[in-house]
């Protein structure tokens, strides 16, 4: 297994994160848009203007046509996307599907905090074929610790009501899953059980954004302490050992797939090339908005849908860096036997002010947690193998000893 080395032309974008509204009705304490280093939101239009949305869909169609894309995924995002009026969302989605070439399918999703999700929104999503992801961090005591409105009121009750609605049989096909930010100070199993109580089709567990300069909560320099791995391992064991219905969990599935020599399903692990473009409400083409946690302006490129095709963004060094695979990692990571699985971790987590590689020439700030968690998953799976597949060797600290990843390189 190896993280693919990429050379040659950049890979076209497949996911387009569209900031349809730049403000939020919550003031979550960990929000990477409003509570981190970047101040760009202050100068953004509150909502994407119809002319900008119209230009955007033409740019996406242009990109799909130029690269003969079979499908694209457009994620309606914010701020809180449901602060945008429904008619403008519908117009954008209809315009997108009308503009795409016949051979390109559009998946459209929105990622919401759930507080504004009601029957009106659900009618819109049914009519326009928009799938819905909802952010929920756990039971009220966990969720409301961070996810509050500007007056300090927790949002759990409103989200729970929305999820009960979304889980009804007539609406469930719209539901893509839950997005949960891991808080290692919480009880992992109580959190997981609460999330399961809504019967989500999928669960995305995301580590808090942080880096070497501004570390995530609880991520102390001592590599012997791995609060995130410890939290994840407990949830993994419950999930892996479940005999009943369990949701898909991208992080867990990706680690198993990578250990088996496959590719990752997520940009947060495995080192696959990022295929994501982010578009602000003013039409600016930006890099991942997660880079807002590194320094002010880190995600900005100076490009805009009003002037530039997405191919111009493909040529930006910030995109190349996230498509570079193993060649884009620091020397320590390239020499590490686990690099084929962790892939250096999530790009924003590698940042350290003043270091090379645009500040990303470092291991992930979560390196100790990733190493411990990957080891836990590998041992759990190894102990569970059918007898016929038991010929398991050990990965050692000798770099390059692990066989090549099956299929040699990410496709697409």
């Amino acid at each position: 297994m190896t993280v693919p080395e990429r050379s040659g032309p950049p890979l076209p974008f497949r996911e387009f994160l569209v900031k349809v509204h730049s403000r939020c009705n919550l003031a979550c304490r960990y929000c990477y848009v409003y509570e981190s280093e970047d101040r760009g939101w202050r100068t953004q239009p509150v909502a994407m203007a119809p002319a900008t949305a119209g230009r955007l869909v033409l740019r996406i169609a242009e990109h799909a046509r130029r690269h003969a894309l079979r499908s694209v995924r457009v994620i309606l995002h914010g701020g809180e996307p449901l602060l945008a009026d429904g008619e403008s969302l519908a117009r954008l989605v209809r315009g997108l599907r009308a503009a795409l070439p016949a051979g390109t399918r559009a998946e459209v999703a929105l990622q919401t905090n759930g507080t504004l999700l009601g029957e009106t929104v659900l009618r819109l999503c049914h009519a326009e074929d928009i799938r819905i992801g909802v952010s929920l961090d756990g039971p009220p005591a966990v969720h409301d610790r961070y996810r509050r409105d500007p007056a300090g009121r927790g949002s759990h009750a409103r989200v729970a009501a929305a999820l009960e609605l979304l889980a009804r049989p007539e609406h469930r096909p719209l539901w893509s899953g839950l997005l949960t930010t891991v808080d290692p100070s919480t009880d992992p199993l109580a959190t997981y059980d609460h999330l399961l109580s809504y019967d989500p089709p999928a669960l995305t567990l995301i580590l808090p954004l942080g880096n070497w300069t501004v570390p995530p909560p609880g991520r102390v320099p001592d590599p012997a302490r791995t609060p995130y791995a410890d939290w994840l391992a407990q949830v993994f064991d419950r999930w892996y050992g479940s005999t009943g219905r369990a949701p898909r969990i991208t992080l867990f599935e990706s680690v198993i797939d990578l250990l088996l020599g496959g590719a990752s399903g997520s940009e947060v692990i495995g080192g696959g090339p990022s295929r994501l473009a982010v578009i602000d409400t003013d039409g600016s083409l930006t890099l991942s908005d997660h880079l807002k946690t590194t320094y002010d302006g880190a995600d900005r490129t100076g490009l805009s849908v009003h002037r530039d095709p997405f191919d111009a963004l493909l040529r930006h060094p910030g995109v190349a860096a996230r498509q570079a695979g193993r060649a884009g990692l620091c020397a320590d990571c390239r020499a590490c036997p686990l690099v084929a699985v962790c892939g250096g971790g999530h790009y924003p987590h590698r940042y350290r002010a003043g270091s090379g590689g645009m500040g990303h020439d470092n291991p992930s700030v979560y390196c100790p947690d990733l190493a411990r968690f990957i080891g836990h998953v590998a041992r759990t799976v190894a102990a569970d193998l059918p007898t016929t597949a038991k010929a398991v060797t050990k990965v050692t600290a000798e770099a390059g000893r692990i066989p090549d990843r099956r299929g040699a390189e990410h496709r697409g």
Binding site: M1, L17, A27, R42, S71, V72, R73, Q111, G133, S135, D144, R145, R148, P150, G152, S176, G177, L178, D183, D187, L203, T204, V214, P215, P217, V220, P223, Y240, A246, R248, I249, T250, D257, L259, L260, G262, A263, G265, S266, G270, S274, R275, A353, G354, P363, A371, R379, V381, L385, P386, A389, A391, V392, T393, K394, V395, P403, R405, G407, R411
Partner: protein, 97 residues
């Protein structure tokens, strides 16, 4: 201090019995590259990359069987990794497993 509608109100009083929240850690020292902690010691980890995937398709654990199916399917599929904030867990063009 934030301005406008995002200005925070008073903090919520944590419910009784709630664990102490973990506040964001203090920023690290100013750039000091030699100070980046050494990578952790990597314990012996089983190497599963050479296992016969076809045999894993019948693994008793459905999670493992589905993983083998995914890896086999994706060897021939065109797809991209999911954005970190995508909560669908289904990569583009992935086949249901």
């Amino acid at each position: 201090m934030r301005a406008g509608p995002l200005e925070r109100g008073p903090d919520v009083v944590p419910p009784a019995g709630a664990p102490e929240p973990m506040d964001r850690a203090d920023p690290a020292d100013p750039p000091d590259l030699p100070g980046v902690p050494r990578p952790p010691d990597i314990p012996d980890i089983p190497d599963l990359a050479g296992l016969p995937l076809e045999e894993l398709l019948d693994a008793p654990n459905p999670v493992l069987a589905r993983a083998a199916r995914r890896v086999l399917d994706r060897l021939t599929a065109e797809e991209a990794p999911l954005a970190a904030y995508n909560s669908s867990a289904v990569p583009i063009d992935d086949h249901p497993v």
